[in-house]
Structure formats: C-alpha cells, structure tokens
C-alpha cells in the first residue's frame, strides 16, 4: 500500500474537518460533558426522546436486577420478536435480536436457537457490565424489533443499515449510510471494509460511495448500483433527527435513524462524538456548512424550520 499525501492547505480548501478540530472545536465547545449521559445511556435517551414525542422503537421492558432476569421467561411469553441491548453498550456490543419463537426457545435471525437459560445468561452478563464501557454495571433494555423498510434491499450484504445524520446546532448538515459487505463481515464499520454512502441532505438521494477511501459504484457483493438509493420520507427523517437537538442540547450530534415499514423513521441511537468519515462518503468537507450554520445560531427556529433551512441551503 502506497500512502499518498496531500497538503494541509488543500484539505483546508476542501473544507475538511480533522480529528483535532473536531475534538477541540466541535465537541469540546458545543457538547458540555454533563449532557453526555443523555446519549451515552440509551435508556435515558429513550426516556427523554419519548417524552418529546420523538419516534423510537417501542420499549417492552427493562431488566435492572438479577430478580428481573428470573422473571424474563414469563415476561416475554407474549412477544414473538424483540431486541435485547445493553443500555450503556457501544458499537453494537451485546445486542441480541430475536425474530421468532419455537416453544420455549427463541430464534435468532440466523435461525439458531436460544434457550431461555441462555437468554437469561445473556441478560445477566449485560447487567454485570460485560458490554458496557469500563465494565460498569448496566441495565438491559428490551425493545420491539423494527420492521425494516425494504428500500435497502440489495444495498447491504447482511442486516439493515441505519442512516447517520450529523446535526450542528440542530441543523442537519450531512448524512450517510454504512452498508455492510462480506469483507466487513456484516458489520457497518467503514475501516473494516463497509461501504460508506453519502446521502444528499436536500433530497435524500445517494451522493457517492466509498470503500476503503476509494470511490465505488456498485455494491461489491450484491452488485446493486449504489447511486439508485433514494431514501423515502426524507424530510420527516430529517425532522426526527433535528428534534433531538432540543432534547439533548448537544451542539454536535450524530443521530442514527432506521426506517420502519409501518412507522416510518425511528430514532435508534444518538452519538455525541460522531466521526469524520462522513466527509469522505459525501465527497466534501463539512467546514463550509459548519460556518454557514454558525451564522444562523442567533436565529430562533423550530426543528421543521431548521430542516427547511438546511434543505434550501445545502441544495
């Protein structure tokens, strides 16, 4: 692999924001640390977003103690499909998806069985902090399974991608989706070989795709032309994302949104330290957009007005 270097001046001209600038200017100056639990603890996120009427996957229950673990089987006897996730987990660790039942056993998307004992053990692990940052004790959230919309069919190798929207002071400035490939082993991790697909903020249409930092046109596994992706309900998706600003008060925020077949866009997760790869997937630096929004900070706008502004401004 030959490393090709560019110059800082060229990057600056392209409006690229680097890691240091993100940490010093975007995160340190806009995201007060005491607000972090609002996004780092998914249970708190769920509570405060539900209060404000933001659409999220419905909650079935929370297991907080080992006592709850023993009641699980009884508690879940009506539910055919659900997801169990650690509240303070990161990077998708410890998430168990159940798509069906067979007697007492649970069925995973892969078709494998999970016995009630194994399920209890998994939840017990979550509670003891196996998946949380630094091994802190955690709680397990049980959510309804999202019925994914089929717009992503053929665009992803395994699983259904979510859409990451970056919000700067509540204005959506960039969006992307990460499409897993066989190379990334079904994981939506860009440096493991997932495809990053930039999405036009004003239209919801695919912009350009990159894999390993290089432009690609077709999905390496399914062969689907990536530029054909057009996210439906785009404006309401952006509105949903934009509302999260009022809830979290974080100036630099990443909102991960999925499309439910019946309910439309649902907020999955929030991130107070969204990464910078989105610039590569969009093929443009975010600095010009940040500067533009910075000038708008004095103007009071509702979430819908902010989205309307972004759609107009970033056409």
């Amino acid at each position: 692999m030959i490393l090709k270097f560019t110059t800082p001046a060229k990057l600056k001209k392209a409006g690229v924001v680097g890691m240091n600038r993100r940490n010093v200017e975007l995160i340190a100056q806009n995201n007060p640390r005491h607000l972090y639990p609002r996004v780092d603890d998914k249970l708190i996120t769920k509570q405060i977003t539900t209060e404000k009427g933001i659409a999220v996957p419905a909650m079935i229950g929370v297991a907080r103690t080992q006592f709850h673990v023993r009641q699980l089987q009884n508690f879940l006897k009506e539910d055919q499909t659900f997801v169990i996730k650690p509240s303070k987990g990161s990077g998708g660790k410890g998430i168990l998806v159940i798509t069906g039942r067979d007697g007492d056993d649970f069925i995973k998307p892969s078709g494998n069985r999970v016995t009630p004992k194994e399920l209890q053990h998994h939840v017990s692990n979550i509670l003891s902090g196996l998946y949380s940052l630094g091994g802190k004790p955690d709680v397990a959230m049980i959510e309804e399974l999202v019925e994914f919309s089929d717009v992503f069919d053929g665009f992803s190798y395994e699983g259904v991608p979510d859409i990451r929207v970056i919000l700067y002071h509540g204005y959506p400035i960039m969006a992307m989706t990460r499409l897993s490939t066989s190379e990334s082993d079904g994981k939506a991790n860009l440096h493991q070989g997932a495809v990053g697909l930039g999405i036009d903020i004003s239209t919801g249409r695919a912009l350009k795709a990159v894999q390993h930092g290089q432009p690609v046109e077709h999905h390496p596994d399914t062969g689907r032309k990536l530029s054909e992706l057009n996210v439906p309900y785009w404006e309401s998706l952006l509105n949903l994302a934009s509302c999260c600003y009022e809830v979290t008060e974080l100036g630099y925020l990443g909102a991960d949104i999925v499309l439910d077949k019946n309910r439309g866009p649902l907020l999955l997760e929030l991130n107070a330290r969204p990464g910078l790869a989105i610039q590569i997937a969009n093929g443009m630096g975010m600095q010009p957009r940040l500067s533009l929004i910075k000038e708008q900070r004095e103007v009071v706008r509702t979430a819908e007005e902010r989205v309307a502004y972004s759609i107009r401004a970033f056409r």
């Binding site: 090709k4 392209a14 010093v24 082993d185 093929g283």
Partner: protein
C-alpha cells in the same frame, strides 16, 4: 476568546518561567547544557602547625577575598579537638579555631575545593589617588631614572609596570634600585616601592598577597602580587615570573592583609599550603557549589534529596518526555495506540531490557497471552475475573520464559520480569476484544502503533543529553507542559489525516 487569551498567557508564563530559570541556572549557578563539560577544580589544602603554650589557644586564618566567579564545592576546616567558626571583621572573613587546652605541637588541617566560573571583573579605581604615595627625597630621582629607563622599551602601562618590576628586581640591581630598596626587608614593601614608582607616572596599582594556583609544584606559599590598572582593566602581575597572570589563576587575599595567620596561646606557628588541580564534571560541581552557598533553587530541588531518591527522580523526570512523544504521535501524527499511556510504561521497561530484547519479549508475551485469552472468550466470563485470569496467564508466561531462558543459558530472558504485568494483562485483554470486534488488522495497527511509540519514547528517554537536561533542569518541565498545552489546543490536521482525506482533494478537481 477569553479561553484562548488565558491559554496564551498561561503558555507564555510557563515558557518564560521555565526558560528563565534554566538560563539563570546556566549563567549564574554554572549548570551546563551538555553532560560532558568539565571544569578545573583547585584543591587547596593547608596545614597549620604551632607549639602550644599549654593554655587555651586561638588560631585565626584570614580567608581569601570572596569572588563572584569563584565557586566553592567543598570545604573542611574541622580538626578533632578544635571548635571552628567563620567570623567577619571589617569586611574581612576569618576562620577561627579555638581550644581550651592545647599542649605540645598542634596541627590543624583544612581544605577548600573550588573552581572558577569565568573571570572576575574588578571595578576601575575610584580616584587617581594612590594609597602608597610617591617616592620622596633621594628616592624621587632614582624612581624617575627607573621610569625613564622603563619607558625606553615599553609603551603601554602594562609593559611599563613589568619593566619597572624587572628593573627593581634582584638581578639587575642598578644604583637607583639600590637607593629605593635600601630599607626594604619584605617582598610586600618591595612591591610597594614599585607601586610608588608607577604612581609617579599616574599608573594605579595595588599590592596584594595571594596564592598562585597554576604551577607544577604541589607545595606553595603565599606570595606577593601587584595588580596594575592598564587604563581599561586591572592586570594581575606575578613579580617572580615577570608576567601577567589571569585572576582565576591565583587566590588573592584582601588588600592590606599583613599576616594571614594569628596564633594566640602558641608560638613557632607556620602554615603549609598545597594545591592540586583535578578535572571534574561541571554539572555535579554546580550542584555542590549551589548546595554549599545555600542557593534556594538548589536547596529546594531534587539535588537536596538523598542520592537513592535522586535516582528515582532521574527516571520520573523522563516520564513527561515519554508523554510528550505520545502526545505528538497521537495528536500531531495520528498514530493509534492501544491504551493511551501504555507505550510509556513499555518504554520504561525497554530502558531496563534494551530495545530489541524488550520488543522480542513483549511480542512473545502478548502473542502467547492472546492465544490463551482467546480460549477465555468461549467461557463468557465476567470482566474482572477475566482480566484476573489473563494476569495469571501473564505470570505463567513470565515464569516459563524465565525458566526456559535460564535452562538454555540465555540469561537475558530473565529481564522479562521488568515488564509491568498488570499493564500487559490489560493490553492483552484490550487487543483480544479488538481482535473480536474489529479484526486482526486493527490489532496489528494498534499494537504496531504502540510499539513504535514505545520505541521512540525509549530512544528519547535513553539519550544521555536528554537525561542530563531533564535531571539538571527540572524547570524544563514547565516548558514541556507549555508544549503539551499548545498541542492540546491545536486544531489543525494530523499527519496521517493528510492521507486519510487525500481522496477528497483528488476527486475535487
């Protein structure tokens, strides 16, 4: 803006304080930037002997003139039975030994080690008045004769003075010289006649007693020197050698000192002096001198600690340098390491094991540990018991390497024990999780980054010049802190981002 302002003020304060203290220590206290610099140390030893009268005895010895440039590194004035103090009378320092009952032959030893840091500048003479007057009576004509003859060959004041000393010397005893030296018994009076002759020509001079430091003989005695004002500086002349000598080549006593030694309660006293010179490390000398003079910067520093604790600090003071390397590599270059400061600890270990051996042992322990840890993954253990198990693995690996290398006659394998096992356990744990979540490529990137950072930090910390600076100038820590804070507020691109975002500048034509 205010935060930015504060940052600027803080950084400049740290820089000014750090650099200022460093320069002060260099210029005033004689610290050296390089560890190799040496200085000539004069060891003056004295022996006072006298016949005691049987009662109380008091011996006082006039001390040489205090000079800014002379830095004493060692002094000893204690003789077993004597009490010794320094007293100052009319600006003249004396060492005084006392004893209640002294009998027979008494001997007192003393010693002073010092070196010169530059050459002392003397103030020019205040007035044109000469303390010795000018020759009178018949001496006036004789002096004029000598001056005339001196002027024939000499032009500068210095040359004239040397010629006059020569003409007044023993070998060339002219009639004029004989007149002037008629009642002169002592060397000091001899030189005062020279001073009087020079005064006739308006040349200022002073007769001083001193000990010549330079020379090949060890045994010395106090001699008389004359210092002459050449018009822009004082020159010290050695009448015996008929040559100018540098001020730092002689130890001078205050002007007007007659006898150096006063003995009460005894007789037949005499003093023997010897001078030896040795070369010593300049840095150590500056510390010794600073301790002796009670300089606050030295007194309240690491140098006031016992040697063993100083050695601990020698290592501790290097750690911030390792931290700086980590900061630079992470925030300016953009290298990913596993564990923020783990590389520093590894670098410290390398200092004990040497680099290549350290790298080899690290790789062995971590890779064996990873294999063992991969088995634990299947057991779904809780976090703390899992890391505790890894710790046990690490110790087993340590023991295995130690025993195996000993049996194979490869003793350096025993250096394995220098590795911090808790840190290694965490490293193995973290890399194992990384392997499962992000794949082996990320493990290679991060462990490679860690080892690269550790090696670089090691190379910085092992450098003798760097170690010398860190230990002798701990105030440079403030400069280091300023640099780290500066990097902390740097919002520009990292070096590796120039390749990461390179496609973006390529596409945008």
């Amino acid at each position: 803006m205010s935060a930015r302002c504060q940052l600027c003020i803080l950084i400049s304060f740290l820089l000014i304080t750090g650099i200022g203290l460093t320069l002060y220590k260099c210029a005033v206290l004689g610290f050296m930037f390089s560890p190799e610099g040496t200085e000539t140390v004069w060891q003056v030893q004295g022996r006072i002997q006298f016949e005691a009268a049987g009662g109380p005895a008091k011996i006082s010895l006039t001390m040489p003139v205090e000079e800014q440039s002379r830095r004493t590194v060692f002094q000893e004035k204690i003789s077993d039975d004597y009490k010794c103090v320094f007293v100052e009378e009319e600006g003249i320092r004396k060492a005084v030994w006392t004893r209640k009952d002294a009998q027979n032959t008494q001997v007192i030893y003393f010693r002073g080690d010092f070196y010169h840091q530059g050459v002392q500048e003397l103030d020019p003479p205040l007035s044109t008045e000469n303390p010795y007057g000018i020759p009178t009576g018949p001496g006036k004509l004789a002096a004029r004769d000598i001056l005339l003859r001196a002027r024939v060959t000499a032009t500068s004041n210095l040359d004239i003075a040397l010629r006059v000393i020569g003409l007044m010397g023993a070998e060339s005893k002219s009639p004029s010289a004989r007149i002037l030296l008629k009642n002169v018994k002592y060397r000091r009076e001899h030189m005062e006649q020279v001073a009087k002759i020079l005064a006739m020509d308006g040349i200022q001079s002073r007769v001083v007693r001193g000990l010549l430091l330079k020379g090949s003989y060890t045994q010395r005695s106090i001699t008389t020197f004359i210092r002459v004002y050449t018009g822009d500086r004082w020159a010290l002349l050695d009448p015996n050698a008929l040559a100018e000598i540098a001020f730092n080549e002689a130890l001078l006593w205050p002007e007007g000192t007659r006898g150096l030694l006063d003995v009460y309660g005894g007789s037949d006293s005499h003093i023997d002096l010897s001078v030896t010179s040795i070369q010593k490390n300049a840095g150590n000398l500056a510390i010794d001198a600073g301790k002796l003079s009670g300089s606050a910067l030295i007194d309240f520093s690491i140098f006031s600690l016992p040697i063993r604790d100083q050695n601990t600090f020698k290592l501790l003071l290097l750690i911030p340098l390792g931290a700086l390397v980590v900061v630079i590599l992470r925030n300016l270059v953009g290298i990913r390491t596993s564990g923020t400061f783990m590389p520093i600890l590894i670098a410290l270990t390398f200092m004990q094991t040497t680099l290549l051996l350290g790298l080899l042992l690290f790789l062995i322990v971590v890779s064996v540990g990873l294999v063992m840890r991969s088995y634990l993954s299947h057991l779904n253990l809780l976090l703390v018991p899992r890391i505790a198990s890894v710790l046990v693995f690490v110790i087993i690996i340590f023991a295995a390497i130690g025993i195996a290398s000993h049996k194979l006659g490869w003793e350096s394998g025993l250096a394995i024990t220098f590795f911090p096992m808790i840190i290694l356990s965490w490293t193995i744990e973290r890399m194992s999780i990384l392997w499962e979540e992000e794949g082996p490529k990320e493990v290679l990137i991060q462990s490679g980054g860690s080892l690269f950072t550790a090696s670089l930090a090691y190379l910085v910390m092992i450098n003798p010049n760097v170690a010398h600076l860190a230990f002798n100038f701990p105030e440079l820590l403030l400069v280091l802190l300023a640099i780290i804070i500066m990097i902390g507020s740097y919002s520009g691109f990292r070096l590796l981002e120039l390749t990461r975002f390179e496609p973006m500048t390529r596409v945008k034509k």
